[in-house]
Subunit: 478 residues, 2 copies
């Protein structure tokens, strides 16, 4: 038999067609006659009209939600509302049954928690099908953006012996038998006997390795999984998440901000252009979800309006010092509504402060820059004032920090001094220091948490709902 | 100052230009006058002509191999051979020095082993710059191929509690303190106290999770890191490598072979179209390398010829049974030249056999299919003969197995029986079995080891040379 045609292509057909074949899963079956068939190619189902008078009762009974079927017939103009075409079924074949009593994805509303427990099946729902398609298109947009600009995609290592960056708690990787660990003469675990001959962890960031490549290839980006063993059971944290880390030789912090802003706007635009149907559905889903919330907690803008807003407005660039001034004088601070009150310059900003700046004060994405040196990482470029570093964080409404980046400290002596002060082992980062020894130059980069981007674009509120199989404390199922 | 222009864009300029700025690293500096400047955007250097009579001696001394410099001047037609344009330098700035005595990447031939030990700097050589650019473009081609066909990119989990697939030895992931492991009442390690509340490993394949998504979205692919804790110190194995795994609902094994062949040809063509300069350089490198080999061991075709050959010829499709007949009767088998002699049907094929079929007998990529069930994985579709499964391996000259795939066993009862026979825990794979319970259908997929593809396209011979920072036994540096 010739190949089947995707539902998306059938629905987008410019004319009726004789003898088409579609394969997919039954979403609903109405009146013993109308199958809503979905094959994952689009959020839309195709209506397949079964000739119930000439179809055995036994077969009709097997057309249940979740069943896989093959339908053959003509693509004709639909008399029903809501679709241009439908299939007049001439031949119907049940490929795989689905016991209506047992199939968990019934055509009704399920809680997101229930769906998470069925992550292998939730993608058969409208919402999760849409989310996963949007996520996929966003991932492609990331590659497309960088490749067209001549960036080189680099796969930095996942397993690493370098654990000096200190970006967060790390997972250990080992091939040693945990119930029979080899010991050395001092009675310590003998990692020389481990697979890599040393203690190894899962990466928290590919930045340091990425920098070495940027100092050769000019413009690079990574896009891979990163890991944090932090016991944060929040709606914004995953133990395993995908991160995008561009790094560009000769870029200063302003260039870095320009790149990040242009990049984010590009990928959002790309998703809007390529996932219009899915985003429209997700906008409706969000409106529905928010109906149960008090008015004050609902979004001020609908999903597409919010995305358009980000495209059409420049991100507000604000120095940390300005931000502290704004926060110190703002009403929630004066009325002691913040959990952490802002009293003086040097305070680390909490989520509540970031949200105030973005959602209440500026009502726009914000780029904060020039943070105090002592609340930021060792590799950030020290400003001439001697107390701030060329760091930037991009804050998004509803999401908080979506990007963290900096101009890197390119001066060997300054970098070594900083490492010494923080007790970071120079020996271990000999290769990183080499970039400052041989042809060092100004360079900058940032990290964007991919799931936070997907969260923003899809309008979902829990990060566990925008990755296929979320890894969180106490959960590594599937 | 306005931004610098990439070397690639300067060399591709269609006319001379007044006042350009280039930034990059000095590859060589000849006659106190000619800088060969590279910025990683292309394999080619741009010649920068320094006005040495009007440049301080002190500055000229600092123009050393590896130094980062900024040059400003006019882009003029070059009088020298080998380049169309050069920069007449008006202003030269040393951005970062490079001590000529200490910089490891001298402009001379280094051993590949030495370069591996300096993986953070080897990318500043012509060969590794080219390899990493080709790798990046191949990665993009992978995404481009699948996205334009409507496949959904899925990030299957890296850390997994499921270890039932048995595709190879796994690395364990833990956040427990190894020197103070918690024990349960039976005196065993209490994984309930670990981060995920269970024993977890690094994934060896995203296939099983991918299948659950294919049975909802129709066509999906993964592209992410996978891990094998196998102590194989060979030129073809890495402990951490990137794998591409498409999975397609309603595809049978023939469709699967068509997809794999079309896909491989597409990405190779894409690299040839987009990396012509780099591949030309790598072809020359390979020819040079092979000069030291005896004639019999040299490639029969030059690199580009070999790539074209793969594009222009269909992969030879041969059943396992046919292959055994060929091997049993071939000269090396009869003359006992094989290490493992082929005597009867059912033997597992070794690398020597695969190479004979591909390189000597068919002289073309080969797809072997319908393997004996007992040498293949549990999830492969049993043929009607009851003894072979719908498996396929694609074998490439010089590389061996580049793709392994199969039509999956879609029948619940047959699958469960097979799992029972192999002692695979049904409880643990409940979610995988759900795909066969609810709307099961014929489906197929394959896995392609990305580094093997890069190896083939770049003509390199050791897999450690086509990934940024290779992970192998006793090596997790950087």
């Amino acid at each position: 038999m010739r190949r089947h045609t995707r539902v998306k292509d059938l629905l987008n057909s410019t004319n009726t067609l004789h003898e088409v074949n579609a394969k997919g899963w039954v979403r609903t079956f109405r009146n013993n006659q109308f199958i809503a068939l979905n094959d994952g190619s689009t959020i839309h189902n195709i209506q397949c009209v079964v000739d119930f008078e000439n179809t055995p009762e036994e077969t009709l009974k097997r057309i249940t939600t979740g069943a896989a079927v093959s339908v053959t017939g003509d693509l004709v103009e639909s008399k029903g509302a809501g679709q241009k075409y439908e299939i007049q079924v001439r031949k119907l074949e049940i490929l795989g049954d689905s016991d209506a009593e047992k199939f968990p994805m019934q055509p009704k509303k399920h809680s997101l928690e229930f769906l998470r427990e069925n992550a292998h099946l939730r993608v058969r729902t409208n919402a999760f099908g849409a989310i996963m398609r949007v996520r996929s298109v966003l991932a492609f947009a990331v590659h497309h953006y960088f490749q067209q600009k001549g960036f080189v995609y680099v796969n930095t290592p996942i397993i690493t012996g370098a654990d000096a960056e200190g970006a967060g708690e790390m997972f250990q990787v080992t091939a040693l038998p945990l119930d029979n660990l080899p010991k050395n003469e001092e009675g310590n675990i003998d990692y020389k006997k481990d697979f890599f001959g040393q203690h190894t962890n899962l990466t928290v960031s590919g930045q340091l390795e990425g920098e070495t490549f940027a100092m050769a290839l000019g413009q690079i980006y990574t896009f891979g999984p990163t890991f944090r063993a932090e016991n944060s059971n929040t709606s914004r944290h995953l133990a395993e998440f995908w991160m995008i880390e561009p790094e560009v030789a000769f870029n200063n912090l302003d260039d870095n901000m320009d790149l990040a802003e242009d990049f984010i706007q590009y990928v959002i635009k790309y998703a809007m252009d390529h996932c219009a149907d899915d985003l429209k559905f997700l906008e409706g889903r969000l409106l529905e979800e928010e109906k149960s919330k008090p008015q004050a907690e609902r979004s001020e803008m609908a999903l597409l309006e919010k995305l358009n807003f980000v495209l059409e407005n420049n991100f507000k660039r604000v120095s940390y010092t300005e931000a502290i001034d704004i926060l110190r004088d703002c009403t929630p601070n004066k009325k002691k509504k913040f959990q952490y009150l802002i009293n003086e310059w040097g305070a680390d900003l909490q989520s509540e402060h970031e949200r105030y700046l973005v959602e209440k004060h500026f009502k726009s994405p914000v780029i904060l820059f020039d943070y105090p040196a002592n609340i930021k990482a060792f590799y950030m470029r020290l400003n001439e004032d001697g107390k701030t570093v060329r760091a930037m964080d991009i804050l998004f409404p509803g999401i908080g920090e979506i990007v963290g980046g900096s101009q890197r400290e390119e001066r060997f002596d300054v970098l070594v001094e900083k490492m010494k002060a923080l007790g970071i082992d120079e020996e271990e980062l000999w290769w990183y220091l080499d970039t400052r020894k041989f042809g060092s130059a100004v360079h900058s980069g940032f990290g964007l948490g991919f799931e936070r981007l997907v969260l923003f674009v899809t309008g979902m509120t829990n990060i566990r709902d925008v990755i296929a199989f979320p890894r969180t404390p106490q959960n590594a199922d599937f």
